[in-house]
């Protein structure tokens, strides 16, 4: 945190020309993986993420099955070519394990798991291209994939990060803002009740700042929710396959 030598705000504009409360361009597509029970693709600025949902299906290993409800599993992973820097390592890392956990905990709250005892529901998330804010984009995409898979949920959910750089409060942090800014606070919010389903934060913020940022996030999530609904509507409206750009 606190890279004082990087000027992130110039004349009230951010590095990529956005206003402080402006989100990047976001495109969501549902049903992009025909083999999966449900799937979604999200392009969020320079992030490209796919999500596949499988289940309810047999719980493996069997001793992990819960006789009262479905077990929700989540695996978030970053591809070795996702960043502009060196070729990364494939497979899970400490970071991806933590993100898998906090994303899983969002959907454990929302999926009506009691309907499917002894089964598991798998949420697989793969980051193909990363540019900051992959966890929030992942939650947003996974929610669409779960709906696409027909899995009942108590509420729809979307997520966006809020943060602070150059002493300005920002919504939807980009890569540089995340790396060199003062603070980063990704939040997932369920749509109807506005409950906080994912919350992480680093850097230094006052209580007032957090209150303002929560309002910003709420506005962002409303915007995202419209895009999610639109993606699903488009999927169910297009009968035959439409040409789809990754």
């Amino acid at each position: 945190m606190g890279g004082q030598n990087v000027q992130l705000i110039v004349d009230g504009k951010r590095l990529d020309g956005r206003k402080p409360d402006e989100m990047r361009n976001i495109r969501i597509e549902a049903g992009v993986i025909p083999e999966a029970d449900g799937s979604a693709f999200i392009e969020w600025g320079g992030n490209k993420i796919i999500c596949g949902v499988y289940g309810p299906r047999e719980c493996i290993p069997r001793h992990g099955a819960n006789p009262y409800k479905a077990t929700v599993k989540c695996r978030y992973m970053m591809s070795p070519f996702a960043s502009l820097d060196e070729h990364g390592r494939s497979g899970p890392s400490r970071r991806s394990n933590e993100l898998s956990k906090v994303i899983r905990e969002v959907f454990e709250n929302l999926i009506i798991a009691e309907k499917f005892p002894n089964t598991q529901i798998d949420i697989f998330i793969d980051v193909l291209q990363a540019e900051g804010g992959t966890r929030t984009a992942s939650v947003t995409a996974a929610a669409v994939a779960l709906v696409n898979a027909g899995i009942p949920m108590k509420d729809m959910v979307s997520a966006v990060a809020s943060g602070k750089a150059g002493d300005v409060l920002l919504v939807d942090l980009g890569k540089e803002e995340d790396n060199f800014g003062q603070s980063d606070m990704p939040i997932a919010m369920s749509h109807s009740d506005k409950n906080i389903q994912l919350l992480q934060m680093d850097g230094l913020l006052t209580k007032d700042e957090i209150a303002q940022m929560l309002d910003q996030v709420e506005k962002g999530c409303d915007e995202l929710n419209e895009k999610q609904a639109d993606a699903l509507k488009r999927f169910y409206e297009r009968g035959e396959e439409e040409k789809f750009e990754w």
């Binding site: 993986i33 999966a36 796919i50 596949g52 502009l84 070729h87 793969d126 193909l128």
Partner: protein, 261 residues
Amino acid sequence: MDIKDTIMSHVRRDVMNSSLEKGVRFDGRKFEEFRPIEIQRGPIRTAEGSAIAKVGNTTVLAACKFDAVTPFPDRPEEGVFMVNSELLPTASPTFETGPPDENSIELARVVDRAIRSAEIVDVKSFFIEKGKVLGLFVDLYVLNHAGNMTDAATMAATAALMDTKLPKIENSAIIRGEYTGMLNPKSIPVSTTFVKVGENWLVDPTRDEERVQETSVTISTTEEHVCTMQKRQGYLTKAELLDNIDIAFKRGNDIRRILKG
């Protein structure tokens, strides 16, 4: 493949076989026909080159990335070329999480051999200085598995190599985001996979056809040569192999035209 992939309903298998007896495949294709092929170039901006190949519904993403690495001790003047594959559990109900299994390793190695044997990547030009060379890493990501990953993966890998830019090097380090030109692969290897179901040889099998296959073999060709072959389960006769090589050359030319776009 694991158990989930071998189970297929008898009704479905019988319908498939009876349709093959009439000379038509389950999806209406002729025996030697590929599914529609689509290539999308450069979807991943963070890699030096990338492409997505779609064969029917089977989708494979290939991304090429350069790193400055230490050369292998027995070839100190040559760069490193490496293909890895990831059968994402996202892509199919039969893929599982965890380190690459034998299918994933086989896929990467068959694609690797096709490219290496065709000598399309000049690893000798990857030398930077003593003890430091460029490494070119090709990652294959299967995004949807609807049968015949191998051919889709080879197409994605070659299309990605055609899209690959050579990185700028300063003080023996790679300057990210700056390039000195294109990699320009010298030729385009194409792989063609055949499966035998009953008495018939089928090109570009779907997942259903792979489930009932008795024999599976992949033949990769350049314009003039066979550059790699891989038999999986089952057996085949000499005559069958030679016939399939003829078909592989023919299909190879068709697909090269698509890849050259």
